[in-house]
Symmetry: C2
């Protein structure tokens, strides 16, 4: 506790210093068309070299407009894998920060680093992003759910004190079908939007538990005995009950209905089912069983958490969180307006006046027709990048924004708003479904801000 | 107001008399296996001869184990159509009650009537069911949403005072895929149920408005200028905001998770989107337009209403109500348990250990394999009956239960519970998403009651 207090005190003290140092070099995060000179190449530091960080590093190593000059981790195995990847790519070995949990503070002070990507376990995201913003670095922060409303405000307040942009690295906004539908939404093909759905419906049982050596489907261990995400992510399912991972669903939906840009979230209610899936997984696993120590754990996370969000412009949003049961992967998108509806799960849409009355049409014809310019131009480059190629476009946008020092499409206000879903959902569930209001993190700026994503 | 008061007073006064008259002939509604003698044929009265009532009458006329001996309506056109149908079937003309809105009270007193079907506009259901129960008739009440919690209690209290069964006529419980999935649920193929979805997602714009002559897609009129459902149903969309029609979704879901039979609804929260669809429909209709008087109406019903329900056994339920936008018909069922998931919208399911990991399978193979005995035996007879044949099985169950005078599969407690969703949803929406508790209409009986549907 004392360390945490000191750490926070340090942040508060250094905020103004950071702001004055950083402001001259950083364009206003609210002006997307900056006059700041274009930089042809930038130096990147990556904090967190786990599997997700390695993904980003892999994309960075392939580019000619950026150099990986610093990495930071405390996990020797992940550092070993990362160094191997760098060597195999023939790239220069970056400076390595591995001297304990706080060594990232030295990385963010490295004057040669222009931009920082944070891909650590969730618990570190805000603390590291705050430090990086205070050091004047262009920040790319991986997605997660928040822990507290205070944490969300810390991000906003640090950004406003320093002027440093934060790019919230939500990759699903770049998914090919998601972007094609964004095109269709913007062309008015669905009319005025009325109801949207999305979420994270992904059987993560084989991620939350493994054998401590291989990451997926290999055992019934977690925590110190687990590997990769099982080492830290699983504890959230033991102790917390809420929508722990809202951004893959809410990110695309927020683009469709311009959240924090003429629209905002007013309140949510959340409801959780009972928790059975993780316990059953341990008991039924060949390396687990009813007598396995983990079979005694009482998991708090409801297997299915459903959250309803009301927007100031009158739309409703249904968010799914469903990671503990056997099921096919599906983010479950639904975009419904006055003129039509798209549903991802049946790969179908209906557009009034175009589709046969009361009938679904295969969505693919439309997805091809309205393929986004990003994908039309870059599909070849995206081949092989993570998550079906969308990670390429995310990294491309991040690097380009960082080079230009312009406001990112998903900024600190979006990060705060999307992160807030998690503590608000936990609170609503704990209070028997009470509605929980969203703060206006933008302090009224949402009324005149414009959506700049992938225009 | 005075008439209403007198009416209620009459009901209260006659309740005890009705009870003592009726009880000797009516088996206890909580004992499905009655010793009451089987009757080979019964006499039926139908109150409400609109399109839905005609549907029921059509099925009655085809049967040899019941006679239509009384009908009641105040709409001359609907009576004309009904009489024509009866004549064409070569059946004996029933006694006709048409002397004003209260003439149904004479029908329910008709000693030759054994069972009564109520298929009037929603506003009359409870009042008529209460009168019919008090007269000792076996009651079949069409589905709708409730108006008040008091109305739900009236049904329960009247049943308990009279001992008269009430069969809540929810037809979707008999849908072929719904019943096959019920078989699979009962065989444990989905494991322990965790989360369920259902609802009423049906573009009713062409039902809520017509030309006053033909029922569907023919104009922009309603109320006195409308025909069939447009005459009365549309007003609910003008004045009310909630899940106005919950039973087609909740009926099947309640069978899956044994509501009022070892499980019960604890509370709900509800959220409504803005209302655009009905206004746009009037403005865009060739017989409407921006200057049409109906274009001035401000509709209260949100185009998409989403309701979350928490069950005492820990399941969550998502209910959809979506009747004002262009969309294909879909009740949107989802049945998700510890061992698998079925979704109606993509006609797919996933069963752990059977389906390929993380992959959907076409549900049809399973729906065929687990086809319910009702459908295996009766599919031929169901051909041509309403709503894909399911109405045949509903009527068959109703007549059989009435002949045996046994408790129906969906009884007065289910009716009260399902009806209550509507006022609770309206209240939750009006209160900004506040959770609303369900009363225990069974007064604790849900803890030992058993599901008897289609065993």
């Amino acid at each position: 506790m004392e360390n945490q207090f000191n750490r926070r005190k340090f942040l508060q003290t250094s905020a103004l210093a950071g702001a004055s140092a950083a402001l001259p070099n950083i364009a206003s995060a609210t002006s997307p068309k900056s006059k700041t000179p274009f930089r042809s190449t930038i130096n990147i530091g990556v904090i967190g070299t786990g599997l997700r960080g390695q993904n980003h590093i892999n994309l960075i190593l392939k580019r000619t407009d950026c150099q990986l000059i610093a990495i930071c981790d405390i996990d020797d195995e992940m550092l070993r894998r990362t160094k191997k990847m760098i060597t195999e790519a023939g790239a220069k070995m970056p400076k390595i920060y591995k001297a304990g949990e706080k060594d990232y503070l030295n990385l963010v002070q490295d004057e040669s680093v222009d931009a920082i990507i944070i891909a650590t376990p969730w618990r570190w995201h805000t603390e590291m992003a705050v430090a990086a913003m205070q050091a004047g670095k262009y920040v790319g922060m991986e997605v997660c759910g928040g822990f507290s409303m205070d944490e969300c405000w810390q991000l906003v307040n640090t950004h406003e004190a320093t002027g440093t942009p934060l790019f919230f690295l939500e990759n699903v906004c770049y998914r090919r079908d998601v972007m094609a539908i964004l095109n269709m939404v913007r062309k008015g093909l669905f009319g005025e939007l009325i109801h949207l759905e999305g979420g994270y419906q992904h059987d993560l049982r084989g991620v939350k538990f493994n054998d401590g050596i291989t990451p997926y489907n290999s055992g019934a261990e977690f925590g110190e005995k687990g590997f990769s995400e099982a080492r830290w992510r699983t504890r959230h399912s033991i102790h917390r009950n809420g929508d722990l991972y809202p951004t893959h669903g809410i990110g695309p939906v927020a683009q469709y209905c311009n959240i924090n840009r003429g629209n905002r979230f007013l309140y949510l209610t959340s409801m959780a089912s009972k928790a059975r899936g993780l316990h059953n997984y341990i008991v039924d696993h060949e390396k687990g069983g009813a007598d396995h120590p983990n079979a005694k754990i009482e998991f708090q996370l409801g297997d299915k958490v459903t959250t309803l969000i009301k927007c100031s412009n009158g739309e409703t949003i249904s968010l799914h969180h469903d990671t503990n049961l056997p099921r096919p992967y599906s983010l479950g998108f639904r975009v419904q307006g006055t003129k039509g509806i798209w549903m991802a799960v049946n790969k179908s849409l209906h557009l009034e006046g175009t589709s046969p009355a009361h009938r679904w049409e295969d969505a693919q014809t439309y997805l091809d027709q309205y393929d986004h310019a990003y994908w039309k131009a870059g599909a070849n480059k995206a081949t092989g990048a993570g998550h079906g190629g969308m990670d390429y476009f995310l990294m491309d946008d991040f690097i380009n924004c960082a080079k230009e020092k312009v406001a990112p499409p998903f900024d600190v206000y979006d990060a705060a708003t999307w992160l807030a879903i998690t503590p608000l959902s936990e609170q609503s569930i704990a209070m028997g479904g009470q509605p929980m209001p969203f703060p206006d993190f933008t302090r009224g700026r949402w009324m005149h801000r414009k959506n700049t994503f992938a225009l």
